[in-house]
Subunit: 333 residues, 2 copies
Amino acid sequence: MKQINIKALAQELNLSVSTISKALRDSYEISDETKHRVLELAARLNYTPNPYASSLRGKKSRNIAIVIPEVADSFFSQAINGIESVAKVKGYHVLICLTHENYEHEQAILKEFQSGRVDGVLMSVSSETANGSHIQELITRDVPVVFFDRALKDVSAARIVTDDFESGYKATLHLIEQGCRHIAFLGVSSRLSISNDRMAGYRKAMEEEGLPVHETYCSASAGENYTIIREMLQRPDRPDGILASVEKLATLVYQVCAELPLAMPADVKLVCFSNLGIAAMLYPSLTTVTQPAFEMGKAAAAALLKLLEKKNTDPAGLNMVIPSELIRRGSTL
Amino acid sequence: MKQINIKALAQELNLSVSTISKALRDSYEISDETKHRVLELAARLNYTPNPYASSLRGKKSRNIAIVIPEVADSFFSQAINGIESVAKVKGYHVLICLTHENYEHEQAILKEFQSGRVDGVLMSVSSETANGSHIQELITRDVPVVFFDRALKDVSAARIVTDDFESGYKATLHLIEQGCRHIAFLGVSSRLSISNDRMAGYRKAMEEEGLPVHETYCSASAGENYTIIREMLQRPDRPDGILASVEKLATLVYQVCAELPLAMPADVKLVCFSNLGIAAMLYPSLTTVTQPAFEMGKAAAAALLKLLEKKNTDPAGLNMVIPSELIRRGSTL
DNA sequence: TTTATTTACGAAACCGGTTTCGTTATAATA
DNA sequence: TATTATAACGAAACCGGTTTCGTAAATAAA
């Protein structure tokens, strides 16, 4: 089947391609009657404009990218829905790009974006990302970037985050109140603001109570993390409380506890940053720090669109901190 | 910052744009020395080709689309990873488009694809989708489509599915063996093959045992589904077994049972089609029919790429049925 | 030496919209 | 009536790569 393009419409109506283009874009130069004829024919022939042609000429793709570590995570999948909900009404398409927590992947993806493939980027950096030169490079080339959740401190871009420090602090206090004395913090990366801030909140709470801090970093590999958690819980001085900074780690704690076995919450209490809808149906039900994922996605997309629409906006003015909620459930009670 | 394009490279090296283009594409027409100079400069200036320009000229976007109802679902998020893993090695980009189980959304998305935005489409149709004219139209315009998991029977396209009938049959037999007599099937749509086939397997098992069938359709709205399930479980003749065809419904069953309260598995036993990694940590742990999501994604992407590379391939020859696995856990034992 | 090939490159058309800059009627104003 | 403004449209440049075709110089074959 032959693709119908603007030229085909022009021939059919005995008009020029420029007239068709203007009619489709509702230009004042075209009479209402002609516009009507063009629109009618376009609808009848099921005409769909070639997005690459307009992007090439107009230097605008009307695409925005979401760069995230993975989709199989309740926070990210809900954030995607939030982003998509605002992008759609503004006529933007969304490209989802996965880094799989890998720095090289992230670099390669952002490098590609220098080509003009997208007008702007929403990102949550990978746990391996140590510096933001690849992000800064993109911003230098006039592709605005908005961080959501996982931001880098050495890049000046808008950031939509939660109150990570306070959440870490409150979650730790909650564990302490429930009687924990050896509380371990499971982070994902020493470079990540979310991990650092949550850990700082944890550390403050521990130090206020004069308790020793145990900070452990996990990797992107579920297998390695399993080993780390298992060894940690097998030691004689094993923790009686765990604060896990990402959802993936909570599953492993449940698994290891079931295997050893250790009873939750009697032997070990667990709090996890998570947006899992079924947290309440786990055994025991999981105490979570739940982030406003959908709202964060919406806010991040709104910030990016503001940057795209008015170039002279100060990114720092778009920063937002949206509070998380500590939901106490069986794993700590 | 000025975008560097092929013309900039040409001026810098005192060559023509065609020579640069050929050098970058490793054409035999260009001497090794010139190629080397071009590659070196391109790397030094961080040149990234404009994908829209090549797509426009070449009529190939090297983009494939994944059209699915949602991302917040363990099956789809794992399938995405499978698709992405094969697309990446073949140099294709992946666009994820969400229908939110809405037919109009799905139609609009596919209509857009008539523009040449993507070279091919992988899709799992929405639960509202009753007929495949929008899909057929796309295929007519030479955009190949491959179904994965949720296929439409009236569209002739390659389909990568699981053994839905057998899975439904086995899951139902399992419930019967565990003593259930009033087993309800929770489907998502009477038009969907997965729902129909699973239901047919359920019906066969029930009829073989001379048991009455109870088929209920749920919608895309969690609120409505909650009401449906709650009313079903409050009736005097409430089911003592449930076979849920999608993950979202299982969560609601847990919730309703906790509220009424009904004990699982004593009062109600539950089997659900799901890929949730934490199914084993639920209370009670969830008996699942687990699909090979990652493998299905890989197979679907491989089939699509085969269609893209050799036009004359028969779609029907690419069909695959990959078996699911019934994993017996606490909710039925 | 003459002719045929090969090598290495450039000019220009092309992809399909968008936009600028005419141009020709017609209407409005002086 | 002469002049200006306006309405409605077309021709062509343009976006940045890709590809076809042509060509000059170097090399090989006759």
